[in-house]
């Protein structure tokens, strides 16, 4: 145990995902040793992010405004929606420069074991958008896991009767992985070679 102010920071850091006690200690002592301005900037960044960031009212990406920068960008094709599990997947797909439509963050994948069904995801919102925004194609870019694949299948069956083309990223992505771990080239190829469901 360290003195209370130090230990308090260590405890908070150790609650972060992927940070163990050892790393938390190292980070806490690093913060203790840097210039006070640097430490303050870090603390401000955390406070401001929590205060200013909210979800895009259209696609549920994270944004500081009513709508995210992608949804506000007039050069992007509103007839195409790429559905992803989490907001973190968007920058990964953006880096491939192969997609010029808009996104839709589902908030996860269907998994009865985890108590997640369509009602726990933003599926109804996606259906509304398909109808309201004259969408022509929905690319389902859920993770290549059993749950991600099943969500894709579910969405295909749900959306096709609305007259929209539903596609899935081409295989080549590591099975059971996260989009996070797919490199840009693989992901770019998966986007170009997507297949209709």
């Amino acid at each position: 145990m360290f003195e209370p102010p130090v230990q308090r920071l260590i405890d908070e850091l150790a609650r972060l995902p992927g940070i163990g006690q050892k790393s938390a200690q190292r980070l806490a002592f690093h913060i203790l040793n840097v210039d006070e301005v640097d430490a303050t900037r870090l603390a401000d960044a955390i406070v401001e992010m929590r205060r200013d960031v909210r979800l895009c009212s259209r696609c549920f990406n994270v944004t500081a405004d009513e709508e995210c920068s992608i949804c506000r960008d007039l050069r992007r094709d509103p007839a195409m929606i790429c559905a992803v599990e989490r907001a973190q997947d968007i920058p990964v797909l953006e880096k491939t420069h192969e997609f010029n439509g808009r996104y839709h963050v589902l908030g996860g994948a269907i998994s009865p074991i985890a108590g997640i069904g369509p009602d726990q995801l933003r599926v109804a919102e996606l259906v509304n958008r398909v109808e309201a925004e004259s969408v022509e194609e929905v690319i389902v870019a859920t993770n290549p896991t059993m749950e991600g694949d099943t969500t894709a299948l579910y969405l295909a069956r749900l959306l096709k009767p609305l007259g929209v083309t539903v596609t899935r990223l081409a295989s080549g992505l590591p099975v059971g992985g996260d989009l996070d771990y797919a490199d840009e080239i693989t992901l770019g190829r998966a986007l170009v070679g997507r297949q209709e469901l």
């Binding site: 009865p112 074991i113 069904g117 369509p118 009602d119 969500t151 299948l153 749900l158």
Partner: protein, 362 residues
């Protein structure tokens, strides 16, 4: 295939063990509870990536250790294969094949063929269908690593479908259920077709093994399923049948809140001259059938692989008379064998003797 050396750290009663067995027969002698079966379990783990005792991984970590490490080097025709497994107290594990992380864990399954033979094998013959399904599925996974992946996928799809049925019952969202039906169907048909392939290659070897152990009559499988599966089915036919059966039984599944049809409910029955072995055979016949199952598995692996499997016989000789016992080893090829016994006299075969005592093998 031969095990050149085995190293165990923090594994059950072994704080540090380095064991260099002989190429042929190795007899591990020790009182009960001294850890001789644990040595066999460790060797088998490096081939099967799980305990043949059917217990969760974390319980093989010694209570004093942070993690258990199992390492072994095997010689194969093309050189050597090293398998290393580290299991943490919380059950998480890391696997290395020749010093590198394999792309998929199942790549390891194809490397080290082992056949385990223990007294509980009798249950495969005597008890309900799950152990017989397990026997076929395990052999399928050893022959084709893809089978292990398909089995895992079927398990997961089934658990998801059952979770939906259990939580929602009649009010389950039909579209979500449709999606899981599709997954269960795809994976289930593949699991079934893997079983068919095993039954096909096993058939001849099993019959021969049964004759060799001195039994008369014809030992065969009769595959019973409630979804109309048949030996002539290919993948497409199996998918179509399973899909129809799931649809036909949906009402019942919604009521019972579980999946009542599919390969997980099949009963691969063993029959001798048309009589079900489970109910109609004597204890002696059943024991002979259990031996035949292992001999059959050994011979299938020996035929399909460039190298003989490693044979692990856990305390099976105490149950056999000396004449039978001598005969059993002759049924297997001249590969490497590990035998455990409490009494040296029970094992009437030549081989390197090892005394197992207090976490030491010498």
């Amino acid at each position: 295939m031969e095990l050149n050396w085995l190293e165990l750290n923090g594994y059950r009663c072994y704080a540090n063990l380095h064991f260099e067995p002989a190429p042929g027969v190795n007899v591990l002698v020790g009182n009960n509870g001294t850890g001789k079966t644990s040595v066999l379990e460790a060797i088998a783990y490096l081939g099967l990536l799980r305990s043949f005792r059917g217990i969760p991984d974390e319980s093989i970590v010694s209570t004093e250790a942070e993690s258990a490490v199992l390492r072994g080097e095997f010689s194969v025709p093309s050189g050597s294969v090293r398998v290393e497994v580290e299991i943490a107290q919380d059950g998480r594990r890391a696997i290395l094949l020749n010093g590198k992380r394999p792309k998929r864990n199942r790549d390891v399954l194809a490397q080290v063929p082992v056949v385990v033979f223990h007294p509980d094998d009798l249950d495969v013959v005597k008890r309900g269908p799950s152990l017989r399904r397990g026997y076929l599925d395990d052999l399928a996974a050893q022959l084709r690593p893809q089978a292990a992946a398909d089995q895992a996928e079927y398990d997961r799809a089934l658990r998801q479908r059952n979770a939906l049925l259990r939580q929602e019952g009649r009010s389950a969202d039909r579209a979500t259920l449709d999606a899981w039906d599709a997954r269960v169907t795809e994976a289930g048909a593949r699991v079934f077709v893997h079983r068919l392939r095993v039954l096909d290659v096993l058939d001849e070897h099993l019959g021969e093994a049964y004759r060799l152990v001195g039994a008369s009559g014809r030992l065969a499988w009769e595959y019973i399923s409630n979804w109309g599966a048949a030996a002539a089915d290919d993948l497409a036919a199996a998918e179509a049948k399973l899909s129809r059966a799931l649809a036909a039984r949906r009402d019942r599944d919604l009521d019972q809140r579980t999946t009542t049809t599919g390969p997980h409910r099949d009963d691969p029955m063993l029959v001798v001259d048309g009589r079900p072995a489970r109910t109609m055979a004597s204890q002696g016949e059943q024991r002979t059938i259990a031996v035949s199952l292992r001999v059959g598995a050994y011979r299938v692996l020996a035929q399909e692989r460039p190298t003989l499997p490693i044979l692990l016989l856990d305390d099976v000789f105490s149950e056999l008379d000396p004449r039978r016992a001598r005969g059993v080893l002759d049924l297997f090829g001249g590969g490497q064998v590990f035998v455990t016994t409490a009494r040296d006299d029970d094992v009437p075969v030549d081989g390197r003797r090892w005394v197992v005592e207090g976490g030491v093998v010498r």
